[in-house]
């Protein structure tokens, strides 16, 4: 009530001010510049008993409105521009050929993601090991595969048969076991190997940065307790490292998902490859086909992001005092809170004085 009356007074002051000279304009309410002494006659003790009015952000509202208008314009064209051909998008989205390409993308990405995570741990451990040969080799590996473009690696691998017609293992200059390169490896296997070889180099650095981020005191405590070396890593260091590894590595996986579209260039028909092929067969459907590919990549990336959220939450345990609520918990909590506050405001209106209901605005608890 009294807050309202202050504002009323301010408005009437302003009205009066239009008649007074500019120098004195609104003096009582504009005494807000830092360094200005409070004008006399204000009962600060009384003001201190009321909630402080939060700062308003009018510019934010203006910018929001402008952005929304621009966005709606773009969205509108999705419906009004017939070239999008949404009906064709609908038919292509679940076309068997597309789904088959999607499957290949998924399989190649999933296998490479797992292989390169494990490989990344091995190379990272090699890189930080005290063994100079191992650490130099790991460094060279990372240097090599971070330098060479993935497409070059893939094409190299697919010409492996020309380079090494047979692959063998054996004692140097002693007995050998040999098989022809192409009976050993299917083209999918070669594709996955190519993706993994390159990906391991990046994930090794991600893993290494995570390990370095673990406090030295943790290593010392584990040593002081006499915990065996392997367990020190798997139980103490790695779980803590994963907290910083996960976000960076998921980034890598999303990159990998998209990089798998390069498999098309070694004649593997992944999602992008299928779309590319269909596009040359049905040139009029190129736009809807590209939309279909975009939708599927969006779906896959979104799914990965959801998984990432929960993995990150899992590894955050212990590092924050209270875990923040999941979006789902927030939605449920929000609904429950609304119901509760509605109930409490009803009861406070009926049973309590106006003053006490004023002191709990909104009931946000």
């Amino acid at each position: 009530m009294s807050g309202l009356s202050t504002r009323v007074r301010a408005a009437s002051d302003g009205g009066r001010a239009s008649a007074t000279p500019p120098g004195e304009r609104g003096a009582p309410d504009d005494a807000t510049a830092p360094g200005t002494p409070l004008p006399p006659g204000i009962d600060l003790k009384r003001l201190a008993e009321r909630p402080v009015v939060p700062l308003r952000h009018p510019v934010r509202w203006v910018i929001t409105a402008v952005v929304l208008v621009l966005l709606l314009n773009v969205v509108q064209t999705l419906f009004t521009n017939p070239a999008w051909e949404w009906s064709k998008v609908g038919t292509w989205l679940f076309a068997p050929a597309i789904l088959k390409g999607l499957q290949l993308t998924l399989v190649a990405t999933a296998i490479s993601a797992v292989v390169s995570f494990l490989g990344g741990i091995v190379v990272a451990l090699g890189r930080i090991s005290g063994n100079p040969v191992l650490s130099t080799l790991s460094w060279l590996y990372i240097w090599l595969f971070r330098s060479v473009p993935l497409i070059l690696v893939l094409i190299f691998l697919f010409n492996l048969g020309n380079l090494y017609p047979t692959i063998g293992i054996g004692v140097p200059f002693g007995p050998q076991l040999e098989v022809p390169t192409f009976t050993l490896l299917s083209s999918l296997a070669l594709g996955v190997i190519g993706l993994s070889l390159s990906e391991i180099a990046y994930s090794a650095e991600v893993v290494r940065s995570g390990i370095l981020a673990v406090d030295q005191g943790q290593h010392e405590a584990a040593k002081a307790l006499g915990i065996p070396s392997r367990r020190q890593f798997t139980r103490i260091v790695l779980p803590q490292a994963l907290r910083s590894i996960v976000p960076a590595y998921v980034n890598q996986i999303i990159g990998l998902l998209k990089a798998s579209s390069l498999l098309f260039y070694v004649s593997l028909l992944d999602l992008f490859g299928v779309v590319q092929n269909l596009g040359s067969t049905y040139p009029t459907d190129i736009i809807p086909l590209l939309v279909v590919a975009t939708i599927w990549y969006l779906v896959l990336t979104s799914a990965i992001s959801v998984v990432q959220y929960y993995i990150e939450r899992f590894y955050a345990r212990g590092s924050v005092r209270v875990l923040p609520a999941t979006p789902w918990q927030r939605v449920r909590g929000g609904l429950g809170g609304l119901v509760r506050s509605a109930r409490s405001s009803q009861s406070s209106q009926s049973s309590q004085s106006a003053r006490s209901s004023h002191s709990s605005p909104g009931g946000v608890r």
């Binding site: 005191g217 405590a221 040593k223 307790l225 006499g226 915990i227 139980r235 803590q240 212990g318």
Partner: protein, 253 residues
């Protein structure tokens, strides 16, 4: 269980700077020793050498007659394999200045970790851990995470963790230096109850009052040299060496 600690000619340097200059020290089994000294005097290094977190350049540490971290090979001392050192460390509990609890494990999991890693049955390790947590007054925090505890509580958990393997020796590296003043007492109280329990305690600290009250033996280190040692009544009340007197004046001022 208890064991005497014998340190002979402990010598260590980092990049040309000598931090320990041939320290000789014998600590009787079951006693409480407080190591004092200005910062940079080498007292933490000496303490960490006892469980081989710090490798000595020369000299040895023996626990109940067993060399720690090294073994005799011909006419030389030779460093042991990591696996053997880790096993030896289970006889020596260590409490860090910054607690170094494992933040991703609950209080109970922290205490249980070392015994389980050594192959103690999970149920046994668990009941022993709960008994230890009761002893440090934190049984009700068993399922909390370390960051949910105050510094004093964390350090008490760290002490319970160090006790989990029933070590002969407990080493404390400035256990109260990272604590707010009002939390120091609860940690010192727990250490006090361990004195006379038969374990050999070595404490690096600046808490002179604690040293006077609890220590059997006080050692004063300065610039890597053991300047003075003896019962607290001698070293603290009537220090012979001017540097000790100087240090005590500053700390007690």
């Amino acid at each position: 269980m208890s064991a005497a600690i014998e340190i002979h000619n402990a010598t260590k340097s980092y990049g040309g700077r000598t931090v320990l200059k041939g320290v000789d020290l014998t600590l009787a089994a079951g006693t409480v020793t407080v190591i004092l000294g200005p910062s940079g005097s080498g007292k933490s290094t000496l303490l960490r050498a006892i469980n081989h977190l710090e490798k000595l350049d020369e000299g040895y540490v023996a626990l109940g007659g067993e060399l720690i971290g090294v073994t005799v090979r011909g006419d030389r001392l030779k460093e042991r394999r990591e696996r053997d050192i880790l096993r030896q460390r289970s006889r020596i509990g260590f409490v860090f200045q910054n607690f170094n609890l494992f933040p991703h494990l609950t209080v109970l999991e922290n205490v249980v970790e070392a015994p389980v890693a050594q192959g103690v049955r999970a149920a046994d390790a668990r009941s022993r851990a709960l008994a230890l947590l009761t002893r440090v007054g934190l049984a009700d925090k068993a399922s909390a995470y370390p960051r949910q505890l105050s510094g004093g509580q964390q350090q008490r958990v760290a002490i319970a963790r160090a006790l989990a393997l029933d070590p002969d020796v407990l080493l404390f590296d400035e256990p109260t230096s990272a604590l707010d003043p009002e939390l120091v007492g609860e940690v010192l109280q727990v250490i006090r109850t361990l004195a006379g329990s038969g374990k050999t305690l070595v404490v690096v600290t600046h808490e002179i009052g604690f040293a006077r009250e609890v220590a059997d033996h006080v050692v004063f280190l300065d610039e890597g040299v053991l300047l003075e040692q003896g019962p607290p009544a001698e070293v603290l009340a009537a220090p012979r060496h001017p540097r000790t007197r100087d240090f005590l004046d500053k700390v007690l001022a």
